[in-house]
Every structure is written in structure tokens, then in C-alpha cells.
């Protein structure tokens, strides 16, 4: 379980998060949703200790993210952040292999090579393994970064908008992949832009608005026209297909 207690965060004078307390269940796929600027990425970055915690306390499976050595946290959780600008020329396989670094610190074992291979297969990247990242399309590159996070083999996978730049086939495939991971005993927290990916694939939804938790619960409870309409400030119709809520936000 990820436990967030009384976390506030400001950048300059702007308060991004206001006294947030939330629990994210273990062994589930949890989706973080909310309008632009709600603080989803900030919350995820704080959980993933990518930014210093200004107030409050966050623990992942009981490990305090401030006190636990960063190297131990890297084996407990893998985080894919949104800013994946390339500073260097790496091949896809080399990038994904760096995901194993927390485990081998520079001396990869056969197990590490296998994990890298599995991640490449999962994201359909085997054929692109020896290509330079800069020679790939945005979506292919995004898949390479997801594969890197996957290869890290941590209990917790935190993904910030992994579906950005992906076509709908890969978007669905990745959500399905996350559900497979859950079946294998891992836990996933994913920021998604399209509410329906959350509605259909997630077990648990945490909805944020203006730096606060606006709603949380299973998709059936959160994805209603009342709750989502309040969060996004728009009229929404919600229907149901195969027992799953589907938000008709295009209409």
C-alpha cells in the first residue's frame, strides 16, 4: 500500500497540492485522473521521490520515501516520468537495459538480460532493439521508456501518462499489459488522460481537482456523470458496456 499523509507542495508561491491524504491499494491498478493542472504528476513525482517532499509523509509498502535509501526504493518501485527528453544517443535495448541498473549496478546477470528481453517482447520492441531512440517515432520511443520501467521489475510501477503519443491499439495493449502485471502480483499507479482507459481497465480510481482529492473508489463509483461532471466542470453522459462505465465525453 502507498500511504500519503498530509502532503502539501508549492512551486514558488503557487500551491500545487493542498494537504493531500490518500491510500493507494496494493495489488491493484490505480488510475490517477483529473483535469490539467490538478496536481496528478506532482503527486506521482513525490511518491516516486523525484522531488523533495516539502511537508507530510509518504510511504510505499511501509518504506518511508524520504528515509529509505534511494537504491532500495528503486527495487521497490519503478517510475516513468513525463519528461523523457533525450540527451544522448542510445539504442532501444541499451535504454531498457538501464532499467535493470538498480539490481546489478553495472554487472548484468543472465537474469537481467532475460528481464530486458521480456520487457522488449511485451512492448513489441524486439525488431527495434538495435535502433537509436532518436530514429524512432514519438510513440515507439514512449514504448521504449515504458519497457525500461517494466524491466526494472519493481513491485510498484508508477507511470505518468504512458499513453501519451500512443495510437489506440498500443494504448489498449499497454492498459491490458498493466492488468497482466497486476495478475502477476504487482501494483500499478497510472496517470491517464483519457478517463475511459481508467474506467475500463483500472480497479481503483483517484480523481484530483485543483490540488485536492476530489473522489476515489472503484470505477463504478467515480465514473458517474455527477462526480466527473463536477470535477471537469462539464456536462457528461455515462453509459455502460459489458458492465463497465464508459464516459461519452466527446459528445
Amino acid at each position: 500500500m502507498i500511504c500519503v499523509e498530509g502532503v502539501s507542495h508549492s512551486i514558488g508561491k503557487t500551491e500545487i497540492l493542498h494537504d493531500i491524504s490518500v491510500e493507494i491499494p496494493k495489488g491493484k491498478v490505480t488510475a490517477l485522473v483529473g483535469p490539467n493542472g490538478a496536481g496528478k504528476s506532482t503527486l506521482l513525482s513525490l511518491i516516486g521521490r523525484l522531488m523533495p517532499l516539502q511537508s507530510g509523509r509518504i510511504s510505499v509498502d511501509g518504506a518511508d520515501t524520504v528515509q529509505t535509501p534511494s537504491r532500495d526504493l528503486a527495487r521497490l518501485m519503478a517510475i516513468l516520468s513525463q519528461t523523457n527528453t533525450l540527451g544522448s544517443r542510445l539504442r532501444v535495448r541499451e535504454l531498457v537495459a538501464f532499467g535493470r541498473w538498480p539490481h546489478h549496478q553495472g554487472r548484468p546477470t543472465a537474469e537481467d538480460v532475460q528481464q530486458v528481453n521480456d520487457a522488449l517482447v511485451a512492448l513489441d520492441l524486439i525488431a527495434l532493439g538495435d535502433r537509436f531512440l532518436e530514429a524512432l517515432s514519438g510513440g515507439q520511443r514512449q514504448r521504449a521508456f515504458i519497457a525500461m520501467a517494466l524491466a526494472q521489475g519493481a513491485d510498484w510501477l508508477l507511470l505518468d501518462e504512458p499513453l501519451a503519443a500512443l495510437d489506440m491499439a498500443f494504448a489498449r495493449r499497454i492498459m491490458a499489459q498493466l492488468v497482466t502485471l497486476r495478475a502477476a502480483g504487482r501494483s500499478v499507479v497510472v496517470v491517464v488522460h483519457d478517463i475511459n482507459h481508467a474506467a475500463v481497465w483500472a480497479d481503483h480510481i483517484v480523481a484530483m481537482k485543483a490540488g485536492r482529492i476530489a473522489a476515489e473508489g472503484p470505477p463504478q463509483a467515480v465514473c458517474t456523470s455527477k462526480v466527473l461532471g463536477d470535477i471537469y466542470g462539464m456536462d457528461l453522459r455515462v453509459t455502460e458496456i459489458d458492465g463497465k462505465p464508459l464516459v461519452l465525453h466527446h459528445l
Binding site: L50, L73, S81
Partner: protein, 317 residues
């Protein structure tokens, strides 16, 4: 592994040529029978050749480490104020304590280089991340300002000639046994970079990814700062700055092999050694038996290669 083989294939005959070329004639046959020839070999030619190889390798490695640290291809220690700050430190110690032993000078120059490079790193952290061309521009401005300070003090104290060797035209003609051994330390610092190669590669993926993988980006930065500063300071103390090596060699290697430093660092080091050795030999031959400083040769050769790099199409997969 092909690039490594090609470079070794080039480096070996160049080394042999470097041992044989010079004002005093040396023949393979006389080397063991003629004590005078043996003396020239052990006191002058061999130390010089080693100094060239060590300098070239260390500068190329320092260049690529710097580039990974700032995530920008267009910088090297000579264009980011590192060399000028090392020279400033060296100038200070030369003026305040001219009799200080060489290792004191080395330590002061290294510390000054670290301070100057740290200043550069602080400056570029404030730049908008997308403006990648601002990074080398800020580096050039900083090195220009520091260089002006060095020149002014040098002019006031009549040390300009010394400074022009430190900063502009490094050369190896003065290298004899006993006066180049510090360069082994520079090579040691470059070797340190190889042990941390993965960490520098990860650092170039950004602070967030680095943290996510359980590494402290600031710690990796500090290690890089030490490598770059020590290499630069030692090269300046012993032979003087040699331009372009740290810029062109890493760029050519990255084009062909990418930036996985664990794989590319040996090639980068061999490439730097080959380039500087070839230029040093050229400098000895163009107006034999006199010499042109290798820094001057590299200024010409290096800028030509750099222009070619800029205007060539990037190679793909």
C-alpha cells in the same frame, strides 16, 4: 568492435613513427648499440610519445563526460571555463608561491578548475531546457570572461607567454622524462570515468530518470566534475590546453556508436590519442627540424572536422 581495431591499427604505426621522428636521427639498428640513441629514446622520445597518447585519451574522455553531464554535445572543458579557471589557479600559485612544488600547483589548478566548472553548471541550470544552443554560448562567454581576467593579470605580471602555452597552444616539445608523469594521473582520472561509465550514461537521461533508478544525480555530477577538472588541470600544468580533442572525438564516436559509455569510452580514449598523436607528428614534420605546436595544428584540423560534423547529415540506425 571494429572501430577499436581500426584505431589500434592506426595508433601502433603512429606510435612507432613518433618514436623515430625528431631532430636527432634514430635508427632501429643503432637503438641498442648506440648509448646516445638509447638516451634520446628513453629521455625524450618515449616520454613525449606517452605524454601525447595520455593527453589525447584523457582530454577526449573529459570531453565526453562533460557532454553527458550537461546533456549537450557542443561543449568541452576548453569551452566552458574549465581550462581558464585552471589557468587562473595556476597563475595565482605561480605569482604567490613560485617555488611551490609541482603537485601543489596541480592541486590548486584542479581546485580552481572545479570551482569554475561548478560555476558553469550552476549557470546553465538556470537556462530554459529547450534552448540547447545557449549552453555552449554561456560556456564560451564564461571562458571568455575568465580568460580575460587571466590575460589581464598575465599582462600586468609579464607572464603572457606562459599563459598562451597553458590556454592556447599546448605542445609537447618540452616533454622529457620527469616532466610528464603527472599525465598518468590524468589518465587515472579518465579511467575512473570508465568505472562510472553507466552512471554517466544514466545521468544523461535526466535527473528524474537517474533518481528513479536509485542514483543520486548530484553525486554523479560531482564525480564528473572531479574527472573533468583533474584531467584539464593536469594537462594544463604539464603541456598546455589542446583544443577540439574533447569536442570532435566524442562527437564522431557518438555518431557511429551512440552514447552507451561502457562501450564507447575505450574507443573515445583511443580516438583522442590517435588524433593528438597524428597532429603532433604532423607538427614535427611541416617545417622539420623545427616544430609547430600541436595545439596550432589541432586548431586547424579540429575546426575543419567540427565544421564537417555540423554540416553532415546525422547517421541513422
Amino acid at each position: 568492435m571494429r572501430p577499436t581495431l581500426i584505431l589500434i591499427g592506426l595508433l601502433m604505426p603512429l606510435t612507432a613513427a613518433s618514436l623515430l621522428i625528431g631532430a636527432a636521427g634514430i635508427g632501429m639498428t643503432g637503438l641498442f648499440s648506440d648509448p646516445h640513441m638509447a638516451l634520446i629514446m628513453t629521455v625524450s622520445r618515449l616520454p613525449r610519445t606517452l605524454a601525447v597518447i595520455l593527453t589525447g585519451a584523457a582530454l577526449a574522455v573529459a570531453g565526453v563526460v562533460m557532454q553527458q553531464m550537461v546533456r549537450n554535445r557542443f561543449v568541452e572543458p576548453g569551452t566552458t571555463g574549465t581550462a581558464e579557471s585552471a589557468a587562473l589557479g595556476l597563475l595565482a600559485v605561480t605569482l604567490i608561491a613560485p617555488e611551490a612544488p609541482i603537485w601543489i600547483k596541480m592541486v590548486v589548478a584542479s581546485l580552481a578548475a572545479m570551482a569554475g566548472t561548478a560555476l558553469f553548471l550552476q549557470l546553465i541550470r538556470r537556462l530554459p531546457p529547450r534552448e540547447f544552443l545557449l549552453v555552449p554560448v554561456v560556456g564560451l562567454i564564461l571562458s571568455g570572461v575568465l580568460g580575460a581576467v587571466v590575460t589581464f593579470i598575465g599582462w600586468q605580471t609579464d607572464l603572457l607567454q606562459l599563459i598562451s602555452i597553458w590556454l592556447m597552444t599546448g605542445e609537447f616539445s618540452g616533454v622529457i622524462a620527469g616532466r610528464y608523469e603527472l599525465l598518468w594521473l590524468a589518465a587515472g582520472a579518465a579511467a575512473l570515468a570508465w568505472f562510472a561509465a553507466d552512471q554517466f550514461s544514466i545521468l544523461s537521461l535526466g535527473r528524474e530518470t537517474t533518481t528513479g533508478l536509485g542514483l543520486n544525480p548530484d553525486a554523479v555530477m560531482r564525480l564528473g566534475l572531479v574527472v573533468v577538472s583533474v584531467v584539464t588541470a593536469l594537462v594544463i600544468v604539464t603541456v598546455g590546453m589542446i583544443p577540439f580533442v574533447g569536442l570532435v572525438v566524442p562527437n564522431i564516436v557518438a555518431r557511429r556508436m551512440g552514447d552507451n559509455l561502457r562501450r564507447t569510452l575505450p574507443v573515445t580514449a583511443a580516438g583522442g590519442a590517435t588524433l593528438v598523436l597524428a597532429c603532433d607528428i604532423l607538427g614535427r614534420l611541416v617545417r622539420f627540424p623545427y616544430e609547430v605546436p600541436v595545439g596550432t595544428i589541432l586548431g586547424v584540423v579540429g575546426s575543419a572536422i567540427f565544421l564537417w560534423l555540423l554540416y553532415r547529415e546525422p547517421s541513422g540506425g
